[in-house]
Amino acid sequence: MQQILFTNDQISLEGLPQVEALAVIPLEPSYKTLRYVSASLFALAATTVAWVVALSVPGIGYWGLVGSVRFTLIGLWNNIYSTISFRHVGYAGRVKDISFKSGWLWLAVTPVPFNRVQHCDIRQGILDRKYGLARLTIYTAGGQSSDLMIPGLLPDVAEKLKAHILGTTEQLIEADPDV
């Protein structure tokens, strides 16, 4: 195996930079409110649809009740989950990568090395705009499930992060056009 600029000395695994050891930057507190509102709006919309369907088709009126109970519970659960998981969600940048930590029950940490970034975009949905937030998505070639989405950022923070990531990527590309 040819090795370019890399000698394969033994590395102590303990000595490697650890993603876990990072100080995670939490998302904006207003993102929590946004989650509450979106979960409640979803529950409300779903309940309305359930009632409309139940009342317009004869003989299935009780579905409206079942549906509204179910969607209210889902909405409630989403709100509780958002509250607790918010404490665990955040991002952290290093010199060569950016990581996103998510979840409360299902914890996941996804780091994306800057030299694997394909492109970034910033999106603001209606609710995001209402709460003055933005979401940054970082795309790699690894497919949809490996793309990193950081929600609940202030727009200028998102812009700065994006510029930083792309700036770093450009430097890397200048150094190695094959990236």
Binding site: M1, Q2, Q3, I4, L5, F6, N8, I11, L13, L16, P17, Q18, V19, E20, K96, D97, G103, L105, W106, L107, A108, V109, T110, P111, V112, P113, F114, N115, R116, T140, A141, G142, G143, Q144, S145, S146, L148, A175, D176, P177, D178, V179
Partner: protein
């Protein structure tokens, strides 16, 4: 530069054979849309209608032919400023330019018509998103080869200038100079090999697919013809009588034999005279009896290599080998697939693609048995509990047989647990799995895009985590690994990808 290469610069039509191919394709689309109507018209005997029906058919045929000729005369392709250009369109004129450096591969395909008339279909694959792919229906093979050479030469020269400008110290892959590329035959499948491959396919799975197909066909006929196939079947099997059981037992070998024949025919049609070549920095598979397909992958695009065996394959010493390449959309299947090869051929291929791999020492990590236990509970214990309930309720002795699912699943769980391994080397990651067979996936660490470590509460309580490794050609998942190991693997892979100077593609 040869005359043929020069001729590519002038706008030209495809070979006239293309008219026939456009016509066939057009008719096939029409036929697919309206076959139930034909079926109804043919089966419902009605003298007066037959003439109308025939005239409609002739009209469709004539219109399609005119359309094909018109389409053909409006379709031009040529090369301009290192771009492949196509002008086409009957009502809306279209011009499509594909820059050479965006082209990923130029593949050839020949179906029976192509082979008889000695033309090839050219598929040009681009790095861009959907809709920018380009296909030439029929052009003469010399011209197609010249086109491919032109594209590949351009890409090689581009790569060389890049490499020269970056001045990376150290070794640069010595590339065979253009025009003198030697093709090395890595493996070929003889008809005898092909039969072995056909025999060792998973016939249970194909039998299930055929069964599902027949069911859906019966459903179609049901709707179109008003035949009532399902009621007929329902009556014979609803009472789980001895007759029903016999029918069922006879049906299993019937479907297996049927699937065997269909698989064998399919294998011969698709993989007849398969040849796996290496030409300079790219790999090529040519195969097929009626439709001859040629698929090329550049070595740098290779992301994951996978080889599989099954008990039957082991008997013949066969492996199934798949090479996954980088695609803009992982869901698109652009892999190179070799249905059968022997150990020496596999080793030789691996030596060419990943030279140091076979001598590498790996540290092995096993999956925690909890995962197998979980699988047994979900796929064995729970269904068994439900079946037990049904068997008690129906008081039919035969239903008790279904409870065999529990010991079967335990056995499978133990086998799976034994085989599921993650092997790590500074340069490679290897994931092994399988229940009755073996599947091995190999990733070169510098090609990894991202690594995720995730854990459910259940896993965290036991200090376990799942590891997901994403590449541009697919993803490796390893569940229920020791959490510390999972994190170390992630940190190490990250470290390796971040210091890596080589391009992953």
């Amino acid at each position: 530069m040869s005359e043929i290469t020069n001729s590519l610069y002038t706008p030209q039509r495809q070979s006239p054979v293309a008219i026939l191919l456009i016509l066939l394709r057009h008719l096939r689309i029409i036929a697919r849309q309206i076959w139930p109507v034909f079926l109804v018209l043919v089966l419902r005997e009605d003298g007066g209608r037959n003439i109308k029906f025939l005239s409609v058919l002739i009209l469709i045929g004539v219109l399609s032919f005119l359309y094909a000729v018109w389409d053909y005369t409006r379709y031009y392709f040529f090369v301009e400023n290192n771009e492949l250009c196509v002008r086409s369109g009957i009502f809306r004129r279209k011009k499509l330019n594909v820059p050479f450096d965006r082209i990923q591969s130029v593949d050839f395909k020949q179906n029976l018509v192509h082979q008889l008339l000695n033309v090839v279909r050219v598929q040009v694959d681009t790095a861009g998103s959907k809709g920018s792919e380009l296909e030439l229906d029929a052009i003469d093979p010399k011209r197609a080869n010249a086109l491919r050479e032109m594209v590949m030469d351009y890409k090689r020269s581009l790569k060389k200038t890049n490499e020269a400008s970056t001045e990376i110290e150290g070794e640069i892959t010595p590339e065979v100079p253009a025009f003198q590329e030697t093709s090395e035959l890595l493996l070929s499948l003889s008809p005898y090999d092909l039969i072995k491959v056909g025999i060792s396919r998973n016939h249970l799975r194909s039998a299930a697919i055929i069964f599902a197909f027949l069911i859906s066909l019966a459903d179609d006929l049901d709707q179109v013809m008003g035949w009532n196939i399902f009621n007929g079947i329902g009556e014979t099997t609803s009472a789980m009588s001895v007759f029903g059981l016999l029918l069922f037992l006879l049906a299993i070998p019937f479907f297996i034999v049927l699937s065997f024949i269909i698989t064998l025919v399919g294998m011969v049609l698709k993989y007849y005279d398969l040849k796996f070549w290496r030409t300079g920095p790219s790999f090529k598979v040519v195969a097929g009896l009626l439709t001859r397909t040629e698929k090329t992958i550049q070595k740098s695009k290779i992301q994951i290599m996978q080889w599989d065996t099954s008990p039957l394959k082991k008997l013949f010493g066969l492996f199934q080998f798949t090479i996954f390449q980088a695609t803009p959309d992982v869901r698109q299947n652009k892999s190179l697939f070799i249905p059968g090869c022997y150990q020496p051929q596999l080793d030789q291929t691996l030596d060419v693609i990943v030279p140091g791999f076979r001598d590498a020492d790996f540290s092995t990590h096993k999956m925690h048995p909890r995962f197998a236990v979980l699988m047994v509970v979900i796929f064995g214990f729970l269904p068994a509990a439900v079946l037990w309930g049904i068997a008690r309720w129906q008081e039919s002795p035969l239903q008790w047989l279904a409870l065999l699912i529990l010991p079967l699943s335990i056995w499978m769980g133990i086998l799976y647990q034994k085989k599921r391994k993650l092997k790590i080397h500074p340069d490679y990651l290897l994931s092994e799995s399988g229940i009755f067979g073996n599947t091995t996936k190999l990733v070169e660490i510098f090609k990894v895009q991202t690594v995720t470590v995730s854990a459910s509460p259940f896993q965290r309580r036991r200090g376990l985590a799942s590891l997901d490794i994403f590449t541009a050609g697919g993803h490796l998942r390893f569940p229920y690994l020791n959490e510390k190991i999972a994190r170390q693997v992630r940190d190490f892979v990250l470290y390796r990808t971040e210091i890596e100077q080589r391009s992953w593609m």
